[in-house]
Assembly symmetry: C2
Homo-oligomer: 463 residues x 2
């Protein structure tokens, strides 16, 4: 470590996961320690880990927690990043250009000044506001520490009944994880179908597949209480209609941007509670403050409005952009089209762009089509069914969104639509896309092309 | 059948596979038999079959030949298409608007007049011009009839030594098919590496994988003769250096457009010997003649020049476009970007756009990068290595081409690049593409994004 540096600039990073440490690492690549001192604060024990991998660690597909860690604290320190673990930033003083941090274990507090600041405080899981929500046996799965606590809790519990509250990505992935560990799994879902990031007609397919896997799916069910036993540990999840006995409860009801610090400091927040940045990931109106990852809102290129999306791939891109700009280079993050892919056992679920209700909300009228096809040529072994739904704008025919549910080969097909959305293609233009074709990979008309043909025809028919 | 129709127009289709019968079917969808009589001539026994599926039928993955047939002659006839099997068109009289056809079995000839003509004569395999090239035991695999002959030949032969001449798609797929049937397979290849549709550095990866599968790969080897035994049947393939004993020989040295008829009639042919059409698939300069499928040249949207590509997915699209136009609608085929995907056992091989030599040939200067990544998050089970090569134009950074070699999940990733090429994206634009990410589907930076980042940086560095 270079202790006797002449005073260059100091970069302070709040949050030691994907966005924050990508930013720190990229800045370090561009500027050496004499030019830029980097101090990073992380509340937990870990850095640069894959939160998205936690369900697969809990489920046993990933056996070693440390494999989820892309870069350890020691590796960051070896690159001249002054990383302070178990240290929580509790105040931002923007005028004074300093942050106040507290050692989580000792309680000791101190101020650190900065020239440039990166806020990467992530998101926190939504916890139902009711008694029992913090009881032993009730777990979020947002951080690696959360995952470790859940695994410890599972190890301590003899019962095999798990209730997952929420049926979004985290909910369905945790349902898979717990089924894989041999639990009886009930998913309690407020919505009419699981995966509310899909339209309900596509969510229905996920519902059916989950039940086929032995998962009990309870829709239209609002959790009214989490009940504990005499030992204080969770014993059931209650809805208006009934109680679901539970030896362990996993909360997968979504996350919110962790922006309490930013809010207290008066930084600009959007309607979803996330920090608002410009294209360079600089916090709007604040020359020397950047923000990225799960604590920011991103521009949805299809709707033209901001959204909050907690996803590691965006966090990494944000960090890369921030680090480049902090390091004196130039980079921008143009926005997202809302692509997401997931699986429950062998069922693959993907979406990009707008759902029907998103389009309605932003005043776009559209035609929607749904087609059935297969992952490979129908005559090729293991050709499996795939359902593709496509939305295209009235009159222009512009692609608005695609949802895919199927088996192997379904999920990543959504990338075709993600690129087409980014390029502003119409369904008609998509009908002649030159996609990879050979019998083991696709029918002669790729399912996405079949959907595009049907959508284009429907737009023409309604013109 | 409606025999007593008032005379509408008559459409004559030459060729009963993908392009021809797609055109006929689509025209029939738009115009009933009273408006449009459709007569289709097919030299062979089959219609609307997947020639691309033949290697998998020969290899045993597809057990029933009839599964390769999308629509039988009977099904076409039931839709009022007057299909004449085993009938070869031997002359086009463009001025007289008629074709002369010969019954292959009886030799009987007759003229049929047309108002509109579709030429879909396909391609024929290149046969080395040398003694023995037509000997028993030497097989092409272009038509379903060819495939049946090869299977019959394999059944008759006790020997287990197979030589495949050529190492393009057909060559490597047939090598896989014959390995799957338990043959000792030698592939004799004129080029420096197999898969000359890839750059040689990527072809090298295919070479290594094929040898790992037990296939003997002989590169830089020109076939000088096909040797026959006393029984007249093939016994070896000779190159300048040595002889390769063979109980069966499969020719996979490519195909040429089957345009002898068109050439004799004076229709416009391109430098690759294929028919030249406009965007509506109408033969240039001929108001009432369309052509599509393996007998035409297509515009390569990246190079701006015509190419010949024999691929079922293009043939189907051509047929759809032709049928729509013949039926009084409007459709165009804008061109291709040159996407192709294949596999040898579990090795997936994909390419789109220009190779290095293609770019040189058309005067484009570029940066080329190659990266190694994995199909899934590195910590997820069965993450397999993947190599991605990307070419981006100097100065503009425009994507020119992508080649991918890897295991499961590698091949169809090329679609990302195919859409980006179609949209004219730059490598820099691709770095922020919102591609589907979850640990079972992709590393947090998709391999295509990693390649784009490296290519964009290299273009900037050389600017």
């Amino acid at each position: 470590m270079n202790k006797s540096r002449t005073r260059g600039e100091r970069l302070v990073v709040i949050g030691g996961d994907a966005a924050g440490m990508s930013a720190a690492s990229q800045a370090r690549r561009l500027k050496g320690p004499d030019e830029l001192e980097i101090v990073a604060f992380e509340r937990g024990h870990f850095t640069s880990y894959s939160a998205c991998g936690i369900p697969y660690w809990v489920g046993g597909d990933v056996t070693d927690r440390d494999r989820l860690i892309a870069r350890t604290p020691e590796e960051h320190r070896a690159r001249d990043i002054d990383l302070r673990l178990r240290t929580e930033v509790i105040e931002l003083d923007l005028d004074g250009q300093r942050v106040r941090a507290r050692d989580v274990d000792s309680g000791a507090e101190s101020w650190t000044s900065y020239d440039k600041l990166v806020i990467a405080t992530g998101a926190r899981p939504i916890r139902p506001d009711m008694p029992g929500a913090d009881a032993p046996g009730v777990h979020g799965v947002q951080t690696l520490d959360d995952g470790q606590e859940l695994l410890d809790s599972l190890a301590r519990t003899r019962g095999r009944r798990a209730v997952v509250v929420g049926a979004g990505y985290i909910g369905v992935e945790m349902a898979e994880a717990l089924i894989n560990r041999g639990y009886e799994v009930t998913v309690v879902n407020r919505g009419s179908e699981p995966m509310s990031t899909l339209d309900p007609d596509m969510g229905r397919l996920v519902h059916e597949a989950m039940e086929g896997l032995g998962i009990t799916m309870v829709n239209d069910a609002e959790v009214t209480g989490i009940l504990t036993g005499d030992d204080g540990r969770v014993r059931a999840v209650a809805t208006r209609e009934r109680e679901f006995p539970a030896d362990v409860v996993v909360l997968g009801i979504g996350v919110r941007p962790e922006t309490a610090l930013a809010r207290a400091a008066g930084l600009p927040l959007g309607t979803h509670g996330g920090l608002l940045t410009d294209r360079s990931m600089r916090v709007r109106g604040h020359e020397n403050v950047w923000a990225g990852g799960d604590c920011v809102e991103v521009l949805d290129l299809v709707s033209g409005q901001e959204r909050h999306i907690a996803l590691g791939t965006h966090a990494n891109k944000h960090g890369q952009v921030i680090g480049t700009n902090v390091g004196g280079g130039y980079a921008t993050f143009p926005g997202v089209v809302g692509t997401a892919v997931s699986k429950v056992c062998d069922l693959e679920i993907a979406r990009t762009g707008l759902r029907e209700k998103d389009a309605h909300r932003v005043g776009l009228r559209f035609e929607a089509v749904t087609i059935e096809s297969t992952s490979r040529a129908g005559y090729y072994p293991n050709a499996s069914p795939m359902t593709v739904k496509m939305l295209a704008e009235l009159r222009t025919g512009r692609l608005l969104g695609v949802q895919i549910v199927g088996r192997e080969g379904a999920g990543k097909r959504v990338d075709i639509a993600a690129v087409a959305l980014t390029a502003g293609m119409t369904a008609e233009q998509m009908t002649t896309l030159d996609l990879g074709y050979a019998p083991p990979f696709s029918p002669v008309w790729d399912p996405v092309l079949v959907a595009a043909r049907k959508a284009a025809a429907k737009v023409r028919g309604s013109a």
